[in-house]
Amino acid sequence: MRLPVFYFRILEVIALTNNILFVDHLEKYFFTYQGIVKAVDGISFFIKEGETFGLVGESGSGKSTVAYTVVGMYRPTKGKIIYKGDKDISQDSRKRPLAIKKEIQIVYQDPGTSLNPSMTIKDILELPLKVHNISKNHEDRIKKVKELLEMVQLPVSYTYKYPSMIGGGEKQMVAIARALATNPSFVLLDEPTSALDVSVQAKLINMLIQFQKKFKLSYLFITHDLSLMRNVASRVAIMYLGKLCEIAPSSEFFKNPLHPYTQMLLSSIPVISDEEEALKPKKIISKGEIPSPVNIPPGCSFHFRCHKKMDICSCEDPIITEVNEGHTVRCHLYTK
């Protein structure tokens, strides 16, 4: 009974709107020799159908773990993941029904490791087609593979190439094609462009936005790049050490960042124009580093980097509060 207000609010939202995904008090712990790593420590959010939900955080914040848990690579330690309002998918991929696997796809951060280096592009793209019985026979599959390649604007001659023969951006295109091969309705994008140059990133992002419209996709978009997030996400969540600090609609988020961590992040972004400079919160100097997730500081895990630290912060973990419509924040500054 930690978050009563928010909880009921969420239930209400579920009842009213069409949510593609609802993550409820998700926890994912890893037990290592150094101790328990609370990679995801009780987060809740929902993603509406057709929207892009952005998840931002530094490395080690647990944002990728959220994605991997949703897609079924990990079994949640606690909490629920509800797909399309009624399907509980809080299992790992082995137990997950094939139909759900078809619906939820993922694009990984590093195209270098997400494509099997010993397989041709054809082999890679064929797998989802085979598994989900999308194409009936060999010729059909080849045809479909070529269609997929055309869809992501890659030459058909790539069919029999190996991933090592093509560029990083192109590999990521293949990864996207693979994700879209099953006609999913929900795609997780785990920092899909962080390994790419800006020129390539632009092209890729535009393509993703285009696909979203065309196939009515919902995205969970994970990145550490706030500028990018501003341009793709309709709602943004900030994650720090396994917990969500702030969730807000995109425009609100960048205009009126509430959480000190959000403010610090925003102020750290290098920008190229004066208009952008004006948006950045002033005079917040970033300090400290994200601590190891094995020894999370007591109280608010952000307190010792926080420029607005209060006494209460070091002993008590704040609860999530809704400050404005759809804008929630987890900070003692905003709890009454």
């Binding site: 690579m73 990984y108 010729e139």
Partner: protein, 296 residues
């Protein structure tokens, strides 16, 4: 029709790949030397009955009146204490050595690889524990000692020697594949196949095994040499092939009794062993460099 042309396209791609690897391989004169040596050895081995000067020397032939003759034009490597032509016996001996190497590899690679794949992919489960702990036990003694222990229990014969070496050697493949598989298991391409819904066989034998092939091939080509070496050590103590089968290790062992005067009896077979092992080593190193497997 369309399918056929596609396969051709695929084939040409594969062919291109092979050619590229060949190009890389052929850049290194040592690897080429190894390959050429292997080819020569293979030639003499396969055609031993036709190219060897006295093919009967490989069998139950004896002629004590021509025993222990030094190298001459008649007998390029001399004759042994039985009056048999040593060169002939070396050709046939290489044949048995190669058969031994190939057979042992055929026996152990599938077993070792499959066990390694299973253990690696199930890292953290009881399957891994069972397989890898058994492997650890087998690995805790030097292979030669284990092979010797097993061999000493059995009647000496070339087949039993192979069996003994296999028992001592399979865990190294399990360990190799396990190492790769258990790290590949965490790779995103495996994860993505899992998430997509591919079944276990596909993941083990396509996604993971494909990536193990280079190191396995490399290890196999290097191991050929080692297996032959161990086999010859077993023969050296009399646990190898039965006479009159020509066997390089026992030829060295028997010949060493006639040193230093009849040096040719043991020196030439010793060189033959060195040559075979050397050629497989050179070839294996070439493959390793070509396929880009880590050294170690």
């Amino acid at each position: 029709m369309q399918k056929k042309s596609l396969t051709q396209e695929e084939l040409s791609r594969r062919w291109e790949n092979i050619r590229r690897n060949w190009y890389k391989f052929s850049r290194n004169p040592l690897s080429i030397t190894g390959l050429v040596m292997i080819c020569i050895i293979l030639f003499f081995t396969i055609f031993a009955p036709f190219v060897s000067p006295y093919p009967e020397s490989a069998g139950k032939f004896i002629n004590f009146y021509e025993a222990s003759q030094p190298p001459s034009l008649n007998h390029l490597c001399g004759t042994d204490a039985f009056g048999r032509d040593i060169l002939t016996r070396i050709f046939f001996g290489c044949r048995y050595s190669l058969i031994m190497g190939v057979t042992v590899l055929l026996l152990i690679v599938p077993v070792g690889v499959v066990l390694g794949l299973i253990a690696g992919y199930h890292r953290g489960s009881w399957l891994e524990i069972v397989i890898m702990r058994i492997t650890d036990i087998f690995i805790a003694v030097p292979p030669l000692i284990l092979a010797l222990a097993v061999c000493s229990v059995l009647t000496p014969s070339i087949f039993n020697a192979m069996l003994a070496i296999s028992i001592a050697w399979w865990p190294w493949y399990t360990r190799l594949v396990y190492g790769i598989a258990s790290s590949l298991k965490e790779e995103f391409f495996v994860k993505s196949a899992e998430v997509t819904g591919a079944n276990k066989m596909y993941i083990l034998f396509r996604e993971i095994l494909l990536n193990c092939i280079s190191p396995i091939l490399t290890k196999m080509s290097l191991d050929m040499g080692w297996i032959i070496l161990i086999g010859s050590s077993l023969s050296f103590v009399g646990l190898g092939a039965q006479p009159p089968t020509p066997d390089l290790g026992s030829m060295v062992a028997d010949g060493s009794k006639y040193l230093p005067d009849q040096w040719w009896i043991s020196v030439f077979p010793a060189f033959a062993i060195m040559l075979i092992v050397l050629s497989f080593n050179l070839f294996g190193d070439g493959i390793r460099d070509t396929l880009g497997v880590e050294r170690g």
